[in-house]
Symmetry: C2
Subunit: 199 residues, 2 copies
């Protein structure tokens, strides 16, 4: 059975060779076809273990409709549906400040389509910004494996003021965003950028 | 089918008369058998709408094992299991600061059993405190309907240093905690307490 993540991405069991299009043209990053989510989870786990930050991905919200309670087994959910998240996927704390972000990947080379970021997520970003929280997006361009941290205020501008465009030109992300250092551990050292840009 | 929430609590569909033991002896709070979770969700929604804070309950984490993709219907999760949360249930931002809390209810009159707060949730609280975040617990004593905000540092002390006790004496919660004002809207105005105590 081919599983898909709630975002539609195909689940690739370990041991399977990843498709070429995911490995990109930059083998030095050691990415080897890991999804952006996996790299971020690894990074967040590193920050947790080293006591640098407490940032987690929120669980996928599901609408539970049916549950079985077998006598000698764990409760089994037998019917449930994926709900649209009303917030962004990642949040936590760093140096007392609230951190909030959404992570997206694209195969596009010249722009970032914002089609898969939804109204309530943008509304959430606006609310977080209003409350003085640190909000941004992490964008990965699969062809080059480049990862950028892009402040939410810029994204909100494009989403609200330039809706007809449907995407953000890459050079705006290059100019206003920040390239995230990649490595073995942590894989995507975005905290380094937060430290430099927001503190 | 009688559903239970992942915490074991029975799901009571709207329109069903709540059991007497849940209404407590303080009808002036207008509680009418609503769970602590429902009251907090209502309160958080109020804070969201009035632009006062952005605080949400995290979705229940589930381990998804099987999904159906019917042609003209929404994807249906056909097999999943409840996972133990690795963090507390509620978090968000208020005035730029990270807010994090767990909410628990007890029918006990003289103490608060901490049996249903788990090791990784306490570890999470410790990590949040280490990062300068605001962390606390919201306790409700069902018999009197009193709701207290109790800083996580006190809870951590009892959990770590007084493990044999298995519960926190109510007068410690009265002394070191803060009674949360209750009303119609917001139902449990804990933000008032945060403002006074942490800012």
């Amino acid at each position: 059975m081919a599983f898909r993540y709630p975002n539609g991405k195909r689940f690739i069991p370990s041991g399977t060779k990843p498709s070429k299009s995911l490995t990109g043209t930059s083998p030095q990053f050691g990415n080897r076809g890991m999804t952006l989510e996996e790299d971020l989870n690894e990074t967040n786990e590193y920050y947790l273990q080293t006591g640098q930050a407490v940032i987690h991905k929120k669980p996928t919200p599901v609408q539970i409709v049916g549950v079985d309670y077998p006598k000698r087994s764990a409760a089994t959910i037998t019917e449930a549906y994926f709900k649209q998240p009303s917030t962004t996927d990642y949040n936590g704390v760093y140096s007392g400040k609230y951190i909030d972000f959404e992570a997206k990947e694209t195969r596009n080379k010249t722009s970032f389509p914002f089609g898969n970021v939804h109204e309530h997520q943008v509304k959430h970003m606006e609310r977080v910004v209003n409350q003085g929280g640190i909000a941004f997006l992490i964008f990965r361009f699969s062809p080059t494996q480049e990862v950028y941290l892009y402040d939410a205020s810029h994204f909100i501008y494009w989403f609200r003021e330039q809706k007809e465009r449907k995407s953000i030109p890459k050079n705006d992300i290059e100019e206003k965003g920040h390239l995230v250092p990649q490595g073995l551990s942590p894989r995507l050292d975005y905290l380094q950028i937060i430290d430099r840009v927001y503190f």
